[in-house]
């Protein structure tokens, strides 16, 4: 646990001035709180001696003044420490986010996004609680305890020690039930996860559940989990009830002890009524610290565990980023030499011994069945994954020596599965630009990709919000936004990874004709299922099971029997079929 605390220290240290000031205020507040029982004692002593009325009044006024001072210090301590914890939270969150931006695609393949997000939300909250209310409560409970004990000892050492017995029992109850309580809460949480997983499975399979008419047995199974959940909760509630009742009992026993021993002392003349009043007041002030200590410990434990989970993210090595300083020249020659690549974890290689070269400014089509390794090539070229050294070269330089950022700056890519942000259409296109896009750049990119006409039909045109809170785009529209995004980058190398697959035939023709112009002078890599696109390119690479089955100019490939010729043939058939059954 200490290991995780240590990770938090640098973040806290950045605000050590604020923490020091806040803690000083907490000390003052706790000290001011100790004054009132002593004042009351003094006033009652005066009363017994038949004091002047003014003295009583003055004491009352002093009490109020001290309370004001105390309130002020409580306010200062609370705001300063809690604000510092918010600053710590902000810094830690920003660091985490910056680190997430540097993590490689491999890491994202391994980790579920929901889990990552949940850590940055829930675990960060745990850490913030520790850094704020945790530290504050720790200080104020400790100090209040110390001051109260000191005050009581000042009045009557013996009685103070006697009342310490039931008070320490309170802490013992908290400490003793703590681990079991923790275990039982975990058991409850675990069962909630089980129950939740059960429900998730059911909701995900709603179609199957209905089709097989399994509603009843699904409800039965869910009920079983609910029964178990209820049982675990009740077990926790029993322990918690015992613990709370124990705390109440011992708290009140402290007052009882004061009443009995104090009363006896009064009778014997060793204790006085003013002492009794002061003692009970001190004990009242101890109620909260005694109860809170268990809570604070749990908070600290949780915070440490949360920090541990966040440290796991921070400790992940970022994506390797080459060693060179300059980016590639903007010529765009790409060469692949005997490239074999596997995603690891014992999976079969996605590419085996692939070799080819792409000359600057040429247009190359990569075709092949799903899973033949086409998209892997695109991902490697974007440095999303690291190929073995000496297998992939851009402008004659090994890609593993080129930093990702300058390389990605010269590449414009559009994937098959487009990720759009819930923002305006314009922002999503401008996203691709290297800097602030020039006036009209978004419009011309939108025209190029033929999304402009669709945008005209939206209420807010290009400024239309898309996504959950706006217009939902069709798959084809999304792909055309992605195309515009790649185009506005004005890239030297254009990579389209099956980027037209959802666009209908008619629009595709339009997009292709404007792309043809755009691709002039740019190195273009077109991963496609569409044979017309392949036939229209300078060079075709046919992949089959991670290997290059054949490559060459499309005319040559078409002229000999092979995979490419067969693919072209079958596409013709499919096109015919498409035309055949079209609605009359």
């Amino acid at each position: 646990m200490m290991r995780f605390f240590r990770r938090l220290v640098p973040y806290l240290a950045a605000y050590r001035g604020r923490y020091a000031a806040g803690l000083a205020a907490v000390v003052m507040a706790s000290a001011a709180g100790m004054v009132s029982p002593l004042f009351i004692r003094r006033a009652i002593q005066e009363l017994e001696r038949g004091a002047r009325r003014e003295f009583i009044i003055n004491t009352a006024i002093a009490l109020i003044l001290f309370a004001v001072v105390r309130a002020l210090f409580v306010f200062i301590g609370r705001t300063v420490i809690l604000a510092a914890s918010r600053a710590v939270e902000f810094d830690l969150r920003s660091d985490l986010y910056r680190h997430l931006e540097r993590l490689p695609a491999r890491w994202y393949d391994r980790n579920r996004s929901g889990d990552v997000t949940s850590r940055l939300i829930n675990d960060l909250e745990g850490v913030r609680m520790l850094a704020g209310i945790g530290i504050m409560a720790l200080a104020s409970t400790g100090l209040t305890f110390a001051f109260s004990m000191a005050g009581m000892c000042l009045i009557d050492l013996k009685l103070a020690l006697i009342s310490l017995v039931p008070l320490s029992l309170v802490s013992i109850v908290t400490a003793a039930t703590g681990p079991a309580m923790h275990r039982k809460s975990l058991a409850v949480q675990d069962q909630l996860s089980v129950l939740s997983a059960r429900a998730q499975e059911n909701f995900t399979g709603a179609r199957v559940v209905k089709s097989f008419a399994q509603e009843e047995s699904e409800v039965d199974r869910f009920r079983t989990e609910c029964v178990d959940y209820q049982r675990r909760n009740m077990s926790l509630a029993r322990l918690r009830g015992l613990s709370f009742a124990g705390m109440t009992l011992f708290m009140e026993f402290a007052i009882l002890a004061t009443l009995y021993f104090g009363g006896r002392g009064i009778v014997q003349g060793t204790f006085s009524k003013p002492d009794l009043a002061a003692f009970t007041t001190f004990q009242f002030q101890l109620v909260w610290p005694m109860i809170a200590i268990g809570w604070v410990v749990a908070l600290a434990q949780r915070g440490a565990a949360c920090m541990g989970r966040l440290a796991e993210i921070l400790d992940e090595p970022p994506a390797p980023d080459g060693d060179g300083s300059a980016g590639p020249a903007r010529a765009g020659r790409i060469e692949v030499r005997d490239l074999t690549f596997s995603y690891g974890d014992g999976r079969d290689p996605a590419l085996r011994g692939v070799s080819f070269a792409i000359e600057p400014g040429s247009r190359v089509a990569i075709v092949g069945a799903t899973g033949s390794g086409k998209s892997t090539l695109a991902a490697l070229l974007l440095k999303l994954y690291e190929p073995p050294p000496g297998t992939l070269f851009v402008d004659g330089r090994d890609i593993t020596t080129i930093p990702a950022s300058p390389l990605r700056r010269v590449v414009g890519s559009a994937p098959q599965d487009v990720f759009l942000f819930s923002d305006t259409l314009r922002a999503n296109i401008a996203f691709g630009a290297l800097d602030q896009p020039a006036d009209g750049a978004v419009e011309s990119a939108a025209r190029l990709s033929r999304i402009a006409a669709d945008a005209e039909r939206f209420p807010d045109k290009l400024d239309q919000r898309i996504g959950e809170r706006g217009v939902t785009l069709s798959g084809g529209q999304k792909q055309r936004v992605a195309l515009a995004r790649a185009a506005i980058r004005d890239p030297q190398i254009l990579v389209l990874d099956d980027a037209l697959s959802s666009i209908d035939a008619h629009t595709e023709q339009e997009v292709l004709s404007s792309l043809r112009e755009f691709m002039k002078g740019r190195t273009s890599i077109l991963i496609t299922h569409r044979m017309a696109v392949a036939l229209d390119s300078d060079w075709v690479i046919v992949l089959d099971g991670g290997k290059v089955a054949e490559q060459g100019p499309p005319g040559d490939l078409l002229g000999r029997p092979g995979l490419f010729a067969a693919m072209v043939d079958r596409q013709k058939l499919a096109d015919e079929l498409d035309g055949n059954g079209a609605a009359p």
Binding site: I64, R207, S211, F212, T281
Partner: protein, 600 residues
Amino acid sequence: MNPWMEEEVQGRAYDGRLMRRFLGFLRPHLGWVALAFLLVAARVGCDLVTAPILKSTVDGPIAEGRFGDLLKMCGLFAAAVVGMAIFEFLELLVTNLVGQRLIFDLRLKVFSHLQRLPLKFHDKNPVGRLLIRVTNDVENLNELFTSGLVAFVADILLIAGVLAMMFALSWKLALATLAPAPLTLIAVLIFRNVARNQYRDLRVKIARLNAFLNESVNGMRTVQIFTREKTWLDRFRRLGDDYRTSSNRSVVTYSVFFPVVDLMAAVSGAILLAYGGLSIMDGTLSFGAFLAFWYLAQKFFFPVRDLSEKYNILQAAMASSERLFELLDTPEESTPAAGAAPPAPTGEVAFDHVSFSYDGVTSVLQDVSFVVRPGERIALVGVTGAGKTTITSLLLRLYEGNSGRVLVDGVDVRSRDPVELRRRFGLVLQDIFLFAGSVEDNIRLGDRTMARERVEAAARAAGADRFISRLPGGFASEVRERGSALSTGERQLLSVARALAADPGILILDEATSSVDTESEMLFQEALDRLLAGRTALVIAHRLSTIRRVDRILVLHHGRLAEVGTHEELLRKGGVYAKLYRLQFEGLRVPSRPRAPITG
């Protein structure tokens, strides 16, 4: 989008309509609720009775030096305290019991309701959202009862009790001591208003921040490819800063509120000291009564703080109950009036001019009509997206046609009970779904009356008995939807055994596109033959062997029934089927072009 980002909308902290409905869920547990309140009253009573005991002890035995009576009074005090602890324990127990029963009922009700909602509802609602309903929202209602209702009653009782005792001791002193109470009340009201608005603002800010975070994590690859890391980090920091500003505002509010309440308590104490002290001097107040007052005043301000802290819980609970009730109000799949006997199971299936669209825009089926006679085997053939799966969905009434009629056993599916209708069918699907449970559970599929012998016979007939007997637990072996140890071939056999055991009148078979190893394939084909014998069957065919085995082929193309006939007839015709046949059932497969959406 991550659904917990949507939960930013916060309702009122108290809504009478929602509360009444919530109380309705308490009705079955009314006895326990009453007991909980009784225990609360008993606990508060014991708590309060310590004050007069304190007074009597100080004024009596202590003042008069009667030592024996001191012991007696302390015994009384101890009894009250022990009583308080016991009642507190029981109160927590009963309160939790009611809370747990309440959420048990509610959770099951929501879950069962979700089972009966039409599939369209599930299509529209992400799984994450529904999960939040059965987890967080339900838990929040537990809070509404335990932290809300019970704690509220306890706090009110305590305040009322303290007031009553103070007034009984000395009404003048009570009035004086409680003079700051109205001020405290005003502070509470102001705080409540400010805190509510700030809380809402905070929820909106955190929701924005988290939505951005969630989107970034999901789209990190895109951010990296387009070298947008710096811009995105800046945006994220800005959102984080907004959130921090809002949260600091709320920190200040809370930091003002609690010391103010403490201050009011101190002012009360000071007044008590001054007025009480002077009264003691005048001889109108005993020291014991003064001490009791002191003691009660301390108790008075606890619940005031407590009530303010419960406010956010109440607000969240109200929002949750609103969402839950809205879900429960979503109409279920329509079922015909109870008592309507299911029609004679002839096994005839017919589509009568059926048109259908999932979204009301893109038409998936257009004017499809056909009749499958009892015992006839039909193959459905067409490219991906031609409407094959939609036909089976309409048969099972997972969706309802926009026009025309779907008839099963000669009766419109809309006038049949959906569960009873679906039990008429046996399904062997391409993507074999195993339910969490044992192998046996997966064969009997919830039919508890099915004899064990029948389960075993079905497994034997399907050829699944061999691998089942090899499993460590045999029929009792657990299978899971994911990560199960069963191979694809074994799953196929299990799904046939399942269908054989149910002995359905009509069979829907969605063939797997790629075959598993030859041995499993042979076993599977044999099992299928046994299953198909004498049943009406609709097969979404992907294999030549199946097409040759059926009586008729229905060719779907662009949502229409393009051709009908036997394999040979259709081949001779040289139309859609002939081309499809060459494309799908001969030689190498090239991914066919996905059908473009109309808007794309």
